[in-house]
Amino acid sequence: MNLDTSILTLIIFAPLVGAIVLALLPDRGKTMQWGALIVTLITFGLTLHLPAHFQSGMPAGSFQFVTDLPWIAAPAIRYHLGVDGMSMWLTVLTGFLAPLGVLASWNTISERKKTFYVFFLLQQVAMLGIFAALDLFLYYAFWELSLVPMTLLIATFGRTAARRDAAAKYFLYAFIPSAMLLVGMIWLYAQTGTFDLPKLASLAASHGISSNSAALWLCSLAFLLAFAVKVPVFPLHGWLKDAIAEAPTAAVMVLAGKTGLYSILRFSFAIFPDESHRIAPLMIALGAIGVVYGALIALTQNNMKHLAAYSTLGHLSIITLGIFTFTIAGVDGGIYQILNHGISGGALFILMGILYERYGTYDMRDYGGLAATLPWMVTLYVITTLSVVGLPGLNSFVGEFLVLSGTMQATIAEHHVLWTVIATSGVIFGAAYMLVMIQRVFYGPASNPNGSAPRDLDAREHLALWPMVAVMVVMGVLSPYWIGSIDPNGVAISHQTSSSTSAPQQHFRRAENAPAYARDITSASATQGVK
């Protein structure tokens, strides 16, 4: 068997094997930590095979490292794996974050370590599976699998007594829409006789899934709702604050964002192109509002984790905004921003976890003046903050800039200029709450929340943080390396607007707004001509 065709299987099941091994090993000393670290490092090493052997310049919609084997004959379910540029980088990101999550949990998780690391590795399996699966049913198995370890991690290793409620909330929020997703999938199968994503996508492109547009519309909503809750998209973020506040650092790092956004891009957009365009103006609005809403509420928080929860909401909103613009810049930037959010958000959560480990509180009112005694801590915290607020030269700026410039061109939404203005104002509020946090924790007169001697970062913490900081800088300066393989996704998705969107209501809408667009288009083409 060729490594290229089996690599995705190896990547997905390496953590599973690791979890089984850990479950069999005795929980003594640091066995669990070392075991999990080795497994996650091996997995990460395997994921690096993908970018090393990825063929760039392939036509959009083609997958690489494909495995396609029959699994169940009837209904026709296949073991179909494969990645394109977008899912490849998400796989690498998942692999990259896992060992760092283990390092961040090294001392924090001191009891029931076996349970923790086994669940943690199962969570890995589920996420890696989600990014690689190209068969809807296989995908759904991983999707549901991802729910269980996360819920148990929150319920078992939560910080306060509220952990059970938080876990229940998370589970209900995710599970109920997932049930609708299942119904939608079964309906799709009943219509087409296949769960295979590439087949469904090509059927969708030729409007061959169903002639019943109302049923398609409902089905697309079932898909979108399940994904949007998981992101979460404003205002479906009811579970986010409690889950983030309770979940241990390693779980928080992978809690929100990636899987939901990826699923929208991969499944909603591919199977329901017309329906996705139809709902795009609403999603653009929700995204733009979410940016400002998240940032403003973050500004009023005293608890760092709550602040980070709303900050997460704001940053995920900008990605939602970007991908629903159906412009190249918006989609490319949105996908890039998923990666960036994984890095910068992850680093922020690790840093907060380190503070909590030392001082036993997330309440900023207990902090102050730590900069004087923890110089490395403040350095890395400030760099991470600058990444989060989108300082040019660091990673997030590239993504946010592309998203917002894409929004300005998103003629799919009637008031796209307004939404651009609203979303862009997030740069002010985003900087405000992050700098307020820096000031409250690190500046001003010195404090010592629980009387312990000041202890700057140790070697393990340096090891967990510096790779992330390095990636922030490299992704901020050399973005074409990543965007080059993401760009075909952006091109394919944005071209849906012109080619497959021949639904009559779209033309009607276009015509309705002709004056506004016509002006823009003519002036743009005039200047183009001039060039």
């Binding site: 309906w187 019943n212 403003l296 190249i328 003046g369 300082l391 700098l435």
Partner: protein, 657 residues
């Protein structure tokens, strides 16, 4: 000159930042400052060779580019630098004045903790500032733009244990972000309309088209928002006075000579765009004139020596904005240059005074320092005369050029703007001589051994109280150099009417081209007349200050008592900070807490989640009855459920449509 050398201009300071920022803490002070000085001296030398080649007849047009920084289908931006005559002037100011201030800092910061941190940040600033002026595109300019803001944030908050300093740094960054908001939107519109952010692509497209106003006005106005943030114009000037919390060399370098002129540089760089929008230019002119007179009025009554200089900076930046607003870009850049000389000098001299008094900044407890610190006095005097606009010092030529251009401009209220500028000139002369007289003349109002803890120190530069003393040579040398430049720096722009040849105008002709043809040819006589008027006004300001603070000290206090409400209003800076605070901080936070947090997030988002989960619980209590524990009955339910779902999906939904 080899264009590849351009990369070194920003990269060397960045190297210095990396070295001092990582291992600087463990290095001896001499090594820290040595690295920082070397990493700013070499770029200054490179710029000097650039100038040598320009003065030797070279074109001075250079460009280098690297691989793309951001690239998606249909849009890309490179790391690319370009040098023209405008950039050459800015580079000379940035690297030259920057090096002098690094030198000064070696002495000024000698007794401070965090020496390594200071020089690391200062080098970081030099990195971003050179990127800003070298950049070939809006986006790379924005990198420098945000980066200097970051350096400014870090340096204002250098004494981070002081709440005031931490607040000031945060305020500077956030207010600047308001400006960046405008800048970003302008760039999005540029991408939309031109598909590019390269200066050459955008400006040649504009030149080649005949578009007037319209979306160009929108872009220009959004850029003005950005410029108003960085260059501290109404309504975004509020961060600059507070920025004086930073160490004094920082105030000189960042908050007077270089960073704050970035907005003016940007407007001048985009003159092709602004020339197409008389409306936007008018807005620039009015903002500039208002800021000039408004800040000058506040500067007249401040007692903190650095605050006077800060408001003076805001006011002078207003002049430069005004110049841009009437299309006199050369005059604006000329004033950027002379202002960099004399305002850096004034700040550094003020720093020397503060140094001498071991941290004291309140002019009410200064006085009579002329004999104690003579070098500081004489150099500062040069700066004061220069800014007051008395010939032949540098400030006279640049300011007078601006006033003259405003007077002859096409702006319908040009004469009014000129009058505002003229009055401001008188006020400037007054408050600067007031500062000089209060500090150096009259009786000593300070304790001879002023030590730490004396009075209030806006600058934490205290703690080595060993009597009033002149500063060491490493601080005085930059003062002397800048004093000389403050005298002769204007001579490259002596107008024809005064017998000069206005070299700077010819020098910048390739950049600003036809924009400067505005000058009415027959205006020679009126130009001389206007110059006489402004000199008279400047001397009047000097005379009033001399009368109030030297001849009859105490008269000013009596005036203030008579017009107490007005005096209080101006002294408290028209309560602008308080008003902003009430609206944008208290108001916004209150609204967020009351509406977003309580009603929407807790009420709607959480509430609906709660309702859903309770609904689910209710449903669960019903369905629990179905959980008999009998496997066969589960299988039955499952089959029934699946059948129902499929039935509904296949048959039910067909009926909907």
């Amino acid at each position: 000159m080899n264009p590849q050398l351009l990369w070194l201009i920003p990269l060397l300071p960045f190297t210095g930042f990396l070295i001092n920022g990582t291992v600087g803490r463990k290095l001896p002070r001499a090594a820290v400052s040595g690295i920082a000085l070397l990493c700013t001296a070499i770029p200054a030398i490179i710029v000097a060779t650039l100038w040598a080649s320009i003065l030797g007849g070279g074109s001075g047009i250079l460009a280098v580019a690297s691989a793309p920084w951001i690239q998606v289908t249909g849009f890309s931006v490179n790391f690319a630098f370009a040098v023209d005559h405008l950039t050459a002037i800015m580079l000379a100011v940035v690297t030259g004045v920057g090096f002098l201030i690094h030198l000064y800092s070696v002495g000024y910061m000698a007794h401070e903790d965090g020496y390594w941190r200071f020089f690391a940040y200062l080098n970081l600033f030099m990195f971003f500032m050179s990127v800003l002026v070298l950049s070939d595109s809006f986006l790379l300019l924005f990198v420098g733009w945000e980066g200097v803001g970051l350096a400014s944030y870090l340096l204002i908050g250098f004494y981070f244990t002081k709440t005031a300093a931490a607040n000031a740094g945060k305020k500077a960054f956030i207010v600047n972000r308001v400006g960046d908001f405008g800048f970003l939107l302008a760039m999005f519109l540029l991408i939309q309309h031109f598909g590019s952010l390269n200066f050459s692509t955008v400006f040649s497209s504009i030149s080649a088209s005949s578009t007037q106003g319209g979306f160009l006005t929108a872009i220009a106005l959004l850029l003005v928002v950005g410029a108003a943030g960085k260059s501290a114009q109404i309504p975004l000037y509020v961060w600059l006075p507070d920025a004086m919390e930073g160490p004094t060399p920082v105030s000189a370098l960042i908050h007077a000579a270089t960073m704050v002129t970035a907005g003016i540089y940007m407007v001048c760089r985009c003159h092709t765009l602004f020339d197409r929008s008389p409306y936007a230019l008018g807005v620039v002119a009015i903002i500039g004139a208002l800021t000039a007179i408004f800040a000058a009025s506040i500067g007249m009554v401040q007692n903190d020596i650095k605050r006077v200089l800060a408001y003076s900076t805001v006011s002078q930046l207003g002049y430069m904005f005004l110049a841009c607003g009437v299309g006199a870009y050369t005059a604006a850049i000329f004033h950027v240059m002379t202002h960099a000389f004399f305002k850096a000098l004034l700040f550094l001299a003020a720093g020397s005074v503060i140094h001498a008094l071991s941290g004291e900044q309140d002019m009410r407890v200064m006085g009579g320092l002329r004999k104690k610190i003579p070098v500081t006095f004489w150099t500062m005097l040069m700066g004061v005369i220069a800014i007051a606009g008395i010939p032949p010092w540098a400030g006279f030529f640049s300011k007078d050029e601006i006033l003259y251009r405003v007077f002859v401009s096409d702006n319908p209220i040009g004469k009014l703007l000129w009058l505002v500028g003229l009055v401001t000139a008188g006020m400037t002369s007054f408050y600067m001589f007031r500062l000089l007289f209060k500090t150096f003349f009259g009786e000593q109002r300070f304790a001879e051994h002023a030590g730490a803890g004396h009075g209030h120190h806006d600058d934490a530069h205290a703690g080595h109280g060993h009597g009033v003393h002149e500063s060491p040579w490493i601080m005085l040398f930059p003062l002397v150099v800048l004093a000389l430049l403050s005298i002769v720096g204007g001579w490259i722009g002596v107008p024809k009417a005064l017998g000069g040849s206005n070299e700077i105008e010819h020098f910048l002709d390739p950049v600003f081209g036809g924009g400067v043809e505005l000058a009415k040819s027959a205006a020679g006589a009126s130009e001389i007349g206007l110059a006489v008027v402004s000199v008279v006004v400047a001397l009047l300001g000097l005379a009033v200050a001399y009368f109030l603070y030297v001849v009859k000290p105490g008269t000013a206090g009596a005036f203030a008592q008579k017009a107490k409400p007005l005096y209080e209003l101006v002294l408290n800076k028209f309560y602008i900070d308080e008003i902003y605070n009430a609206i944008f901080v208290t108001g916004l936070l209150g609204l967020t807490t009351a509406l977003f947090r309580s009603v929407i997030d807790f009420g709607l988002v959480d509430g609906s989640g709660w309702a859903a989960s309770n609904g689910a619980k209710g449903l669960a209590s019903v369905t629990r009855k179905m959980q008999s524990g009998n496997i066969r009955s589960y299988a039955g339910w499952l089959a029934l459920g699946a059948a129902a779902v499929i039935a509904i999906m296949i048959f039910g939904l067909h009926n909907i449509s």
